[in-house]
C-alpha cells in the first residue's frame, strides 16, 4: 500500500520462503538452478535477498563472495542471480536490490561487484550499464546447458 510505508521492502531468504526465490528465478531466468544451489542460499546471509512490492514478493538477488586463491579476504561480490518479475520492472526494484548489494560490499571493504549477462539479453546489459557496470570480455559458451549454447558478457562495477 502506498501509505507511509515504502512500496519496496527487502526481506531475508529463509527455509520457509525459499520457494519464493525458486519461483522468481524460474519465472525470469532462462535456466533452472539445482536444489543444492537453493539450499546454499540459506547460508550466505545478506547476500541473498527478496524484494517486495506492495507486500508481494516480486524480486530476488543471490550473490556469492569471490576470494582469489592468493588472498584470504574476498575481493569481489559476484551476482549469481538478480531477477524481477516482468510486470514489476521499471519501479526501481532491481535498483533497490543492487543498492543493498553495494552496501554489503562497502560493509566488507570489497571494491568490486561482477556479473555474467547473457549476450542476447540486451535489456539487462543496458540496465547494468545504466547502473555503472562496465561491459568487459565476452565469454563464449558460458551457458553450457542452454540450447543452443549461450555466451555471456562479463560485467563489473568498480567502487
Amino acid at each position: 500500500m502506498s501509505g507511509k510505508r515504502a512500496r519496496i521492502q527487502l526481506d531475508n531468504v529463509n527455509a520457509n520462503n525459499l520457494g519464493v526465490l525458486r519461483t522468481i528465478n524460474n519465472a525470469v531466468l532462462p535456466l533452472p538452478y539445482a536444489e543444492s544451489w537453493y539450499e546454499e542460499s540459506l547460508t550466505i546471509g545478506e547476500l541473498a535477498k527478496l524484494a517486495y512490492f506492495d507486500e508481494i514478493p516480486v524480486g530476488a538477488a543471490r550473490c556469492a563472495l569471490k576470494t582469489p586463491t592468493s588472498r584470504t579476504m574476498p575481493t569481489s561480490i559476484y551476482i549469481m542471480t538478480l531477477a524481477v518479475l516482468d510486470p514489476y520492472r521499471g519501479f526501481g526494484i532491481g535498483k533497490r536490490l543492487l543498492k543493498h548489494i553495494i552496501e554489503q560490499a562497502q560493509g566488507m571493504y570489497v571494491h568490486e561487484i561482477s556479473v555474467h549477462v547473457w549476450d542476447k539479453n540486451e535489456t539487462a546489459i543496458q540496465w547494468y550499464e545504466a547502473q555503472g557496470f562496465e561491459k568487459l570480455n565476452l565469454v563464449n559458451g558460458y551457458y553450457q546447458r542452454m540450447v543452443p549454447v549461450g555466451n555471456a558478457f562479463f560485467m563489473k562495477l568498480s567502487m
Binding site: G19, V20, E55, P87
Partner: protein, 823 residues
C-alpha cells in the same frame, strides 16, 4: 464439626482422631501417598470406620484415574457403615465434582448440608453446583443463606442478585443491589471497576424487567459514575429508540458512528431512528453523506450496495471495487459476494463493471498490482458462478503475472475443489503452502484439502508440522487436546467417505467431548466472576453456554454421527429381515453382489492388517483405537438421540429448533415413537419446511411395517397425519410419495435427496427405478460438485452399469473437471 453425640461407630480413639486430622491435611495438600498411608494406619485398628474408608476412596481415586471405580466403591462402603456422616457425603460430593458429574455432586452436597446445616463451605459449594446445573430456586436459597451469614462481602450481594436475575425475579435482584448500595456508608470511588460493573448490571436488570423508561432514568443517573462509556452510549441509544424518542436516539447513534464508523449495526439503528428503513432513496442520501463524512470507512459504502439497484448500484459498486483494486486489497470479492446470492442482476452488473475496468487497464496501466487484483477478482467471480474453465483461465493468467502470490494458488485450488477435482485441488494447495511454509493458515487449508481428497496420511503429516507431536511424529492427539474442531470434523468426514465408519464415529464423538469440556469449563467462573465482579461478561458466557449445542460445530458433528448410527440401525434391521444375509434390496444381480462382497472382504482384511501393524507398533492407551466399540453399540438409536437432543433444546433460534426436528424425526420413526415424530413434523409444516413430505412418508412407511404398533397409537397417528395432509392415506405410501414429488419439485438438490431418502424406506417393486430416475435430475440441476457426486453414488448403488454411464455422460457436460464423473 464436633457434635456432642458422636455415634459409636464413628468415634475414634484420640490417637486415631489425630491421625484422621492428619489424613485430611494430607488430602488437602494433595500429598496422596502420605494420606493413603495414614488412612491405612487408621483402618488397621478400625477397619470399618466409614469416614476413613470414604476418604481413602477419595484419595486413591485422586491418585490415579484407573482407580476411580475402586475409590467410589470405598466411599459407598463408608456410607453403608456410617450413613449419617456429613463428612462422607461431603467426600462423596467432592468425588463427583472431581469427576465433573455435577448432577450427582449437587445431590451429595444437598445431603451433606441436611446433616450439617450450618456448614458454609458446603453451602457455597452447593451453590456452585446449582449454578452449573441451572437450579435457580435452590441457587437463590443457597446464596441468601451465604449473604445472611456474611453480608460484609460484596461478592455475596452480587451472587444473590445474579441468582434472582437468572430466576426471572427482577424486582428481587434490583432490591438486593439497592440494599447493598444503602449499606455502603459512602459512595465508592469511580475508579472502582467492580462498583461500576455493579451499577451497570443493575441497569441491565431494570431493562430486563421490561421497564425501559426507568432503565433510561437510571442510566442517566449513573452515566458519569461508571467506566464503560461505550456501553452507556449503546444502552441509551437502544432505550431511546425503544421508547420512541427518535430524535434523541438519532443523536446518540451518530455519536456512536463517529466513535466506530465500521460497526454496521449503528447504521441500521440510525435508519430506524430516522424512520427511513423502507425508503431506499432517503437511505441512499444518508449513506452517501456518511460515506463522505467517513471516507476511510467501509461500512456506509458496503451497506448501501445492499439496497441500491440498477444504474445507481453500478455507479457505487464500480467506485467501491476500483478503490479496492487500486489499493491492492485482496478481499474485494469477499466483500461483494454476499450481494450475488440475493440478486443475480447485481452479479451481472458487477461482472460488467469489472470487465470494463479490466479492458481499460489492459490498454494502459501503470500499476501491475491493480491489474493483478482485477484478474484475481474475475477468477473468483467465475468460480462462484460455476464457470470453472473461465475461472481457471483467469487464475492461470494471474499466476503467470505474479507467480509468487500465495492467494492466487489458494484460489486456483478452490476452483478445482468446486469443480470436483479434489486431488488436483489438494496438489495446488500444497504448491501454495510451499511458497510460505511458516504460514499456518495455508498449512491448515492444505490439510483440509488433502482430507477432502481422501489422502488422510499426507494430511496428518502436513498438519503435524505445526503441532506438538507424539512419539511417532503425529499431531492428531495434540489436535484433540487443542480442541481443533475443524480437523476432527474434516478427518471424520474423510474416514466416513472412505467407508471407515468406526473412525468417523470416533472423531465425531471427540467433537462431542470437546463441547463437554466447553460446558465444564464454565464451572470455575461461577465463583471467580462474582469475586472479581465481572458480571456482565459472566452472564454473556452463561447465556452462551446455555446454547452451546446449538452451535454450528456441534451440530455438524452430531449430524454426522447420527447419520452413521441410523445407517447402522438400518443395516442391522435389514440384515435380520433377510436372515442375516446382506440387504437383498440393493438392486444388484447375484454375481455383482458376490463381487462386491469379495471386494469388501479384501479391503477389510487389508484394513485389519494395517490395524494390527499399528497396534503392534505402539503402546495402546486408547481402549477403542479404531472405533469398533462405537460401531458395536447395542442401541444405535439411543446413542443418536442422546447426541441430537441438545441440538433441539439448545437451538440458537426457534427456526433452528424446528429444523433440527428432521433428524429427531428419523430417530423417532425408527424407534416406533410415531407421535413424537409427528410433533416435529407438525412444527416443520407450520414453518413451511421442505422436508415435511419426506418425513410423512417415512412415518407412514415405518408405522405400516410395524407389527407391534398399538391400535390406539395407530388411530391417533392416522388422525394426526390426515389433519396435516388431507390425502395422506390415498393410495400406497409409494403412490402418495410420487404424487407429492412431481417433476417441478426438483428445482434444487435438497428435494432430490429428500425423495431418495424417503423412497428407500418405502419399498415396492419400482424402488430402484424410481430412485435412479429422480437422482438423474442432479446431473442437470444447479448444484454443487459434492451434490452431483453424491447423486452418482446413489445411481451406482441403485442403478445398472448403463445408468451409471448415462449419468456420468449427462453430468460431465457441466462438470467436465470432476474426476468422479469421468468415464
Amino acid at each position: 464439626m464436633f457434635n456432642t453425640s458422636i455415634p459409636k461407630n464413628r468415634h475414634l480413639s484420640s490417637k486415631d482422631a489425630e491421625n484422621f486430622r492428619e489424613l485430611l491435611k494430607f488430602y488437602e495438600n494433595k500429598e496422596y501417598k502420605k494420606a493413603l498411608k495414614i488412612a491405612n494406619v487408621i483402618l488397621k485398628s478400625r477397619p470399618t470406620h466409614g469416614e476413613t474408608l470414604a476418604l481413602k476412596g477419595l484419595v486413591i481415586s485422586s491418585m490415579d484415574k484407573k482407580q476411580v471405580d475402586e475409590g467410589y466403591a470405598l466411599i459407598k462402603q463408608g456410607m453403608v457403615n456410617d450413613e449419617f456422616s456429613y463428612v462422607i457425603w461431603h467426600v462423596c460430593s467432592i468425588f463427583h465434582r472431581n469427576a465433573k458429574n455435577y448432577e450427582e455432586a449437587e445431590k451429595s452436597y444437598a445431603k451433606a448440608l441436611q446433616l450439617d446445616p450450618e456448614n458454609m463451605n458446603v453451602v457455597r459449594d452447593l451453590s456452585l453446583m446449582q449454578m452449573q446445573n441451572r437450579r435457580f430456586d435452590g441457587l437463590v436459597a443457597s446464596r441468601s443463606k451465604l449473604l445472611t451469614k456474611q453480608p460484609g462481602f460484596r461478592q455475596n450481594w452480587t451472587a444473590l442478585a445474579i441468582a434472582q436475575h437468572l430466576r426471572g425475579d427482577f424486582a428481587a435482584a434490583e432490591n438486593t443491589l439497592n440494599m447493598f448500595e444503602e449499606a455502603l456508608k459512602e459512595p465508592l470511588p469511580k475508579e472502582d471497576n467492580e462498583n461500576s460493573e455493579l451499577m451497570l448490571y443493575k441497569n441491565q436488570i431494570i431493562y430486563d424487567s421490561g421497564d425501559v423508561q426507568r432503565a433510561l432514568e437510571h442510566l442517566d443517573f449513573i452515566a458519569d459514575k461508571v467506566l464503560d462509556t461505550l456501553w452507556v452510549y449503546e444502552a441509551r441509544a437502544k432505550y431511546l429508540l425503544e421508547l420512541g424518542k427518535l430524535k434523541d436516539a438519532e443523536k446518540v447513534y451518530r455519536i456512536l458512528i463517529k466513535r466506530n464508523p465500521e460497526f454496521c449495526d449503528y447504521y441500521y439503528q440510525l435508519e430506524r431512528a430516522l424512520q427511513i428503513e423502507d425508503n431506499n432513496n432517503l437511505k441512499a442520501i444518508m449513506y452517501r453523506r456518511l460515506s463522505k463524512m467517513y471516507p476511510k470507512s467501509d461500512a456506509p459504502r458496503s451497506i448501501a450496495l445492499k439496497f441500491l439497484t440498477g444504474d445507481a448500484f453500478a455507479k457505487v459498486v464500480s467506485e467501491y471495487l476500483k478503490s479496492f483494486f487500486v489499493r491492492g486489497v485482496p478481499s474485494a470479492f469477499v466483500n461483494v459476494k454476499g450481494l450475488f446470492k440475493a440478486d443475480s442482476e447485481k452479479a451481472a452488473i458487477i461482472e460488467r463493471v469489472v470487465l470494463e475496468y479490466y479492458a481499460e487497464l489492459k490498454k494502459e496501466s501503470d500499476s501491475p498490482i491493480t491489474l493483478l487484483w482485477v484478474i484475481y477478482f474475475l477468477a473468483q467471480f467465475n468460480s462462484h458462478v460455476q464457470k470453472f474453465d473461465a475461472a481457471l483461465e483467469y487464475i492461470n493468467k494471474a499466476i503467470e503475472h505474479t507467480p509468487t502470490l500465495v492467494e492466487l494458488y489458494m484460489t486456483k485450488a478452490r476452483i478445482y475443489k468446486r469443480a470436483g477435482d479434489y486431488a488436483q485441488a489438494a496438489a495446488v494447495m500444497q504448491e501454495a503452502r510451499a511458497l510460505d511454509l511458516q504460514d499456518r493458515f495455508v498449512n491448515t487449508k492444505a490439510v483440509k484439502y488433502l482430507l477432502r481428497a481422501g489422502d488422510i496420511d499426507t494430511a496428518v503429516e502436513v498438519v503435524s508440522l505445526f503441532t506438538k507431536n507424539d512419539n511417532e511424529g503425529k499431531g492428531v492427539a495434540d489436535l484433540h487436546d487443542m480442541q481443533g474442531l475443524w480437523f476432527l470434523k474434516e478427518q471424520a468426514d474423510a474416514y466416513n467417505n472412505a467407508g471407515n465408519k468406526g473412525m468417523a464415529l470416533k472423531r465425531f464423538h471427540a467433537i462431542e467431548e470437546v463441547f463437554k469440556e466447553f460446558h465444564d469449563d464454565q464451572f470455575d467462573f461461577h465463583f471467580y466472576c462474582t469475586r472479581k465482579g465481572t458480571i456482565r461478561a459472566y452472564l454473556d458466557m452463561v447465556h452462551w453456554e446455555d446454547k452451546l449445542h446449538g452451535l454450528k460445530h456441534y451440530k455438524r458433528a452430531a449430524r454426522g454421527a447420527v447419520e452413521i448410527y441410523l445407517s447402522l440401525y438400518d443395516q442391522e434391521k435389514n440384515g435380520q429381515a433377510n436372515g442375516g444375509v446382506s440387504s437383498v434390496d440393493d438392486g444388484l444381480t447375484p454375481e455383482e453382489r458376490k463381487k462386491l462382497v469379495r471386494k469388501a472382504k479384501k479391503e477389510k482384511s487389508k484394513e485389519l492388517k494395517k490395524e494390527m501393524e499399528q497396534l503392534e507398533s505402539k503402546e495402546i492407551v486408547d481402549e477403542d483405537p479404531f472405533g469398533h466399540k462405537l460401531l458395536a453399540a447395542k442401541d444405535p438409536l439411543e446413542q443418536a438421540l442422546k447426541l441430537w437432543k441438545p441440538v433441539q433444546t439448545e437451538a440458537l433460534s426457534a427456526a433452528d429448533a424446528v429444523d433440527a426436528g428432521k433428524l429427531a424425526c428419523e430417530i423417532f420413526a425408527r424407534q416406533g415413537k410415531y407421535l413424537l415424530a409427528m410433533q416435529a413434523i407438525n412444527k416443520a409444516s407450520a414453518a413451511g419446511l421442505d422436508w415435511v413430505y419426506e418425513e410423512v412418508a417415512k412415518v407412514r412407511a415405518f408405522s405400516e411395517a410395524d407389527e407391534a404398533i398399538a391400535p390406539t397409537i395407530k388411530i391417533v397417528l392416522t388422525r394426526s397425519l390426515t389433519n396435516l395432509i388431507a390425502d395422506a392415506f390415498e393410495g400406497t405410501v409409494v403412490e402418495w410419495l410420487n404424487r407429492h414429488f412431481g417433476d417441478d419439485t426438483f428445482d434444487t438438490a435438497e428435494p432430490v435427496f429428500n425423495y431418495v431418502s424417503a423412497r428407500q424406506v418405502c419399498g415396492g417393486e419400482e424402488k430402484a427405478r424410481d430412485i435412479v430416475k429422480v437422482s438423474f435430475k442432479l446431473a442437470r440441476l444447479n448444484c454443487t460438485a459434492n451434490e452431483v457426486i453424491r447423486g452418482l453414488r446413489i445411481v451406482e448403488q441403485w442403478g445398472c452399469a448403463e445408468d451409471v454411464a448415462e449419468y456420468k455422460k449427462l453430468a460431465s457436460e457441466k462438470w467436465s473437471l470432476a474426476t468422479a464423473l469421468q468415464v
